[in-house]
Symmetry: C2
């Protein structure tokens, strides 16, 4: 058992590279996990940090990272286009393999407890770690932002899960939680007719009666001169990729349009590909070997899911 999570802390500093490097330094070159990216956004004045690896190994470096954020970021002077409420704004733990969402909730609690105690920072548990329905969605917690938080936190409904019921004057407050990974997935159709992509998106997406964990819409790709059904798969265990692309193929038939390819934007957990490959191999009566190498998995996924612009480094586990 080697539990792997993705952890994506967001900090409210996206302009001062010196500060960003100082704050994120404890997360780099560590045993047990990798910092695969630090992406500052100047307009947002916010940086997104992506860690992958053993969650237990992340806890101590994350505490030092919090300490440095407390030291360097003064939220009373922060301006940026993205909504925010703290110097470290949000820290989600996302189960990738050999780890349950319940374990991720426990890591969120563990980190929250220590950070709140050491730095006197109020912390809200969110998403799957939320302790009440009003704390599931991050925007609900963040409403009012840093500036409104000192009043909001006095309300008994907004008593923090850890730390004092009082704003940290320069740091603000943080949300720490656990959530399922989502997959950004697009399916290419050999037509320029956006109406067809729109009708197919409606057939599969939750908001018009389709699959529960699919958000989808049409898009026309100017450079490539064809349409796509673009989507988020919010829970790939409940709505596996194969089921979605096969349903799209079935719907496309009535328009005499075919699926010419598909693409995964960003990273994708190995399990999501294995789940779908299992379907295709079973249909084709080919034995399924769950110990297959990542490059075999990548090749087979390209073949059966018609993935383009894909390679082994799109699989989260390839970074370990």
């Amino acid at each position: 058992m080697n539990p792997i999570v993705q952890c994506v802390p967001n900090i409210s500093e996206g302009r001062d590279i010196g500060k960003i490097n100082y704050i994120t330094a404890p997360l780099k070159n560590q045993e047990g996990f990798k910092c695969i990216s630090v992406e500052p956004d100047q307009d947002y004045n916010r940086s997104v940090i992506t860690l992958i690896g053993n969650p237990q190994a992340m806890i101590e470096p994350l505490i030092e990272f919090f300490r440095r954020a407390v030291e360097k970021i003064d939220m009373t002077k922060h301006h940026g286009e993205h909504a925010r409420m703290g110097a470290v704004d949000v820290v989600p733990f996302i189960p990738i393999s050999d780890v349950t969402i319940e374990a991720c909730i426990e890591y969120a609690n563990q980190l929250s407890r220590i950070v709140a105690t050491l730095f006197n920072v109020p912390i809200f548990l969110y998403a799957k770690a939320a302790t009440s329905p009003s704390r599931i969605n991050l925007p609900d917690i963040r409403k009012g932002e840093f500036e409104g938080m000192s009043e909001k936190i006095k309300d008994s409904e907004w008593k923090p899960d850890f730390g004092p019921q009082k704003m940290h004057p320069t740091f603000g407050v943080t949300a720490i939680g656990a959530r399922i990974p989502l997959i950004a997935y697009n399916i290419d159709l050999n037509t320029t007719d956006e109406k067809i992509a729109s009708a197919i998106a409606k057939a599969i997406r939750q908001s018009s009666g389709g699959f529960q964990y699919i958000q989808a819409g049409p898009v026309f790709l100017d450079q490539r001169n064809h349409v796509q059904v673009t989507m988020n798969i919010l829970d790939y265990k409940k709505n596996p990729i194969y089921r979605i692309i096969e349903t799209v193929k079935m719907e496309a038939k009535r328009y005499h349009v075919t699926v010419t390819g598909s693409e995964i934007v960003g990273l994708c957990p190995k399990d999501a590909l294995l789940d779908s490959l299992k379907y295709y191999l079973s249909v084709n009566q080919i034995p399924f070997d769950k110990q297959m190498s990542l490059s075999e998995l990548s090749e087979d996924s390209i073949k059966y899911l018609q993935l383009r612009d894909f390679n082994v480094f799109k699989i989260i586990e390839a970074h370990l």
Copy 2:
């Protein structure tokens, strides 16, 4: 335009055939609609009446039907296994063709207003006609039943939509509303392995992440010696039959099982079959004629949806 609705009044009398005939007599042999069945249930001590036709033509006969229920049914003496709160317990209007759900809501209001005024009966609007979220589900309104209603109705939350805020001593109260028709649909698989039907049911049903308007489960048919995916399609416009059976076929492939047939239990609106036929004809590049006769529609539905035990009289419109 010839608006067609299905209207299914339920009365709290399922044993005394003389009374049932007397109360339902005004609904029979009328111009503009048909009474296609009266089904008494002795254990429930309840009868379900199915009317099909022009809703405007139904209003006056329904009023006389209510008058006779007030006259003959004494709820203080009623016993039966089905939950109930009134002599006429519930009256849903269900749009079938050339009529919107909004129009059905209007018919529900029209009938409620007259019945409440003439007979001093409290009426709750329910389902799509509900005036508050707590009145959408009939069981929520009916909770406490006839015996608890005289207290419940005093609560301002349960003030009736029409009529006095006071129980009718022998009749009780009625729910009148509007809802979309549901289709009871089963898909046959050529296996005796219930686990396969169960896995496929999970893939398609709302409660495990599938299509929004599908309730589904597995069942083993002893007489026929194979399993079925048995389901309710709660909104066939959002989740058309073809999409469900084609998704089931796609899922079945991984188990090397095939769909050998399907069946519609009870009646089915013409539109539901037309919607699905349109898909298959388009796939096969056969022109679609929405003016096709009901027997052509029946034949084509049998062919493309692999319907068994089906004939034209399973189509609601064949009764008009």
